[in-house]
């Protein structure tokens, strides 16, 4: 066991007690990165080599000098008797969708490959103010548009540390892979349809989408502004709680950051689940498979794979054994519409957000001769954006056009209300179900092979079908390891809760984590670490 394999909680104690320096902890992570990561993602990377296929490629930009300075400052504070912060010396990575002053902030797009951020995103600033050490910026789907990280303009894209022939999920693929492989202890991701929880499930780590408004979006390069949620990734529930504690809270720079005090997420973390009501919904044991190429609206539903259902049922039994009350057959009838609604709403918001990239103010500008300003826009955007941003712009413009808006955009916004109502009824403290949390599988499958789905934008989107309803509703969700499938890959289980109930979700997750600590699957490590 090396320093980089310890938890954030353990490392903070070790650094504070000066049993190891923050610089030594950082060097442990950098050494692990050198051992497992391979080359970082770059533009125009050339063909993949055999070595590329066996390494993780979590990073776009490593920032070792900056990190060394931060770690040395933590050590200096300790020597001087100053408080080094709650996350003193804990190495973390930031998804390269967050602006960090004086570092490249690329969104994994050619459009921003040369963009050096002039300011730092609030969640990153709070991590660093708490003594955490940013090791670097990690890969993602271009502008977060995807569920496998394969659409990054910076290749090789991230691979799953459990099996490098598999995707890590996405869009926060670099975040979860860096944590799973011990290249960092924590990571900052974002979740718009499941982009923290789905990759966390694929890579066997803990990932949380907080309530919309719990964590500031200031400095986050925007995708879907009504859906985007920054959130923590860790290897344990306690680390995830510790990180959320640091990044959450009101922010004068973000008018959608809720004016609510941040509870103490660690105070009741191990209070158990006795008397809590945890629901299971039949709709979350069904998955929808699109057959759009058949020429009609042919969508098939089938049960989730048996190993996914088994893990969820096992978690329910474990929690029942700890005193929770399991409530079966909670209706969530609009779950299946989460993806169609998302196809509309997220595209309209993405198209709006992407209009700022014009080749004039910052970012990519065509080198071709241009006749006039609109020609500059067209050429810069066509060369700077990859296929996925283009697809989102075009769909967003179509479904929000005046003649189609009522049919598509406004209808989707109303179905979004129905999805929200499903959660309100399940969590209503005076209602029939009175749930503290809903327990579900996180994903329809385990991590799929590289290139197996990429290119089919419809099938790829359906990888998020069990996570996206929480984004529409704004409610918090957490994915945590729930077993290992027969294919040797991690299975994620998900808890969803009412608005601003992150503390309760962490408490339930911790109870499950503690109770299953001795189960054999907990001892299996990612392939790159064996």
């Amino acid at each position: 066991m090396e320093l980089c394999d310890l938890t954030a909680l353990e490392l903070v104690q070790i650094v504070r007690q000066r049993r190891a320096s923050a610089v030594e902890v950082l060097e442990s992570c950098l050494k692990r990165t050198a051992a497992v990561d391979g080359r970082p993602g770059v533009l125009d990377s050339g063909p993949l080599t055999d070595e590329d296929r066996q390494t993780v490629h979590a990073f776009i930009t490593l920032t070792p000098e900056r990190a060394h300075a931060q770690a040395a400052e933590v050590d200096r504070k300790l020597v001087a008797g100053e408080d080094p912060g709650r996350l003193a010396g804990v190495p973390f990575t930031a998804k390269d969708i967050f602006c960090v002053k004086d570092t490249p902030s690329t969104a994994a797009s050619r459009m921003l490959a040369n963009f050096v951020a002039p300011y730092t995103a609030t969640p990153v600033a709070r991590m660093e103010a708490a003594g955490a050490v940013m090791v670097g910026k990690v890969n993602l789907d271009e502008y977060t548009y995807g569920s496998s990280t394969e659409s990054s303009a910076f290749q090789p894209s991230t691979r799953n540390p459990w099996d490098t022939a598999r995707v890590p999920g996405g869009s926060s693929g670099g975040s979860v892979a860096s944590v799973a492989a011990g290249e960092a202890v924590l990571s900052l991701g974002t979740d718009t349809a499941g982009s923290i929880r789905q990759p966390a499930a694929f890579c066997g780590v803990v990932g949380m989408k907080p309530t919309y408004g719990r964590v500031s979006r200031y400095g986050l390069i925007a995708f879907g502004s009504s859906l985007d949620c920054p959130g923590p990734v860790g290897r344990t529930v306690t680390d995830t709680a510790l990180m959320l504690q640091v990044i959450a809270g009101p922010d004068p720079h973000d008018s959608t950051a809720a004016a609510l005090p941040t509870p103490d997420y660690l105070a009741n973390l191990e209070a158990g689940v006795k008397g809590l009501r945890i629901g299971l919904s039949p709709e979350y044991f069904q998955i929808t498979f699109p057959d759009a190429r058949s020429g009609g609206a042919a969508y098939q539903q089938q049960p989730v794979p048996p190993e996914m259902e088994r893990s969820v049922r096992h978690a329910a039994e474990v929690l029942a054994g700890l005193g929770a009350e399991i409530v079966e057959d909670v209706p969530m009838p609009n779950t299946r519409y989460g993806i169609p609604v998302y196809f509309v709403i997220s595209r309209v918001e993405a198209a709006s957000n992407l209009h700022r990239y014009d080749g004039v103010k910052y970012g990519y500008r065509t080198a071709q001769p241009v006749r006039e300003l609109k020609d500059l826009y067209r050429k810069s955007r066509s060369e700077g954006f990859g296929l996925q941003p283009k697809l989102r712009i075009l769909m967003g413009m179509y479904v929000s056009a005046a003649q189609y808006s009522a049919q598509y955009y406004k209808r989707a916004l109303r179905v979004r209300s129905l999805i929200r109502q499903d959660f309100e009824q399940a969590f209503d403290p005076n209602g029939k179900y009175r749930l503290d949390a809903l327990l579900t599988p996180t994903t329809p499958t385990t991590a799929f092979p590289m290139a197996a789905v990429y290119g089919d934008s419809v099938l790829m989107q359906y990888a998020d079908q069990l996570t996206v309803p929480a984004n529409h509703a704004g409610v918090p969700g957490i994915s945590l390891p729930g077993g290992i499938a027969p294919d040797g890959l991690p299975i994620g289980i998900q808890f969803l809760g009412p608005d601003f109930s992150e503390g309760r979700l962490l408490q339930i997750s911790r109870a499950y984590e503690l109770a299953t600590q001795g189960e054999p699957w907990r001892k299996v490590r990612p392939g790159v670490l064996r």
Binding site: A258, L260, A292, A297, V360, R378, F385, L394, M397
Partner: protein, 106 residues
């Protein structure tokens, strides 16, 4: 079943989106758009009561959790030069753009 987004509609969208696409990209993107629209048509199966409101975001923002608006006060950035230098083409603290031809609004 005919494609909802025809080549003509697609060409119009490309113009609105300020994009230029080669033939291969255009073919792929139009095909994916039409596949996505088939998924979106699933929404038509839902009986929607006229009283169902639209949701612009999931979490309600009652006044007690809505942040107070900031005063509308000008605050100078400490380093405007660095921001200007992000522009791909600039000179003498001006951002350079090509000709902006006169356009008559319809």
């Amino acid at each position: 079943m005919t494609d909802e987004i025809t080549p003509e509609t697609f060409a119009y969208l490309i113009g609105l989106a300020a994009l230029e696409l080669d033939e291969k990209q255009a073919e792929y993107l139009r095909s994916e758009l039409n596949h996505q629209l088939k998924a979106i048509h699933e929404l038509e199966a839902i009986p929607l009561d006229e009283n169902v409101p639209i949701s612009l975001h999931g979490v309600p923002y009652p006044p007690e959790i809505s942040p107070a608006l900031r005063q509308d006060e000008w605050q100078p950035d400490p380093n405007t030069t660095a921001i200007l230098e992000q522009a791909p083409r600039q000179a003498d603290r001006y951002i350079e753009v090509p000709d902006i031809p006169h356009t008559t609004l319809e």
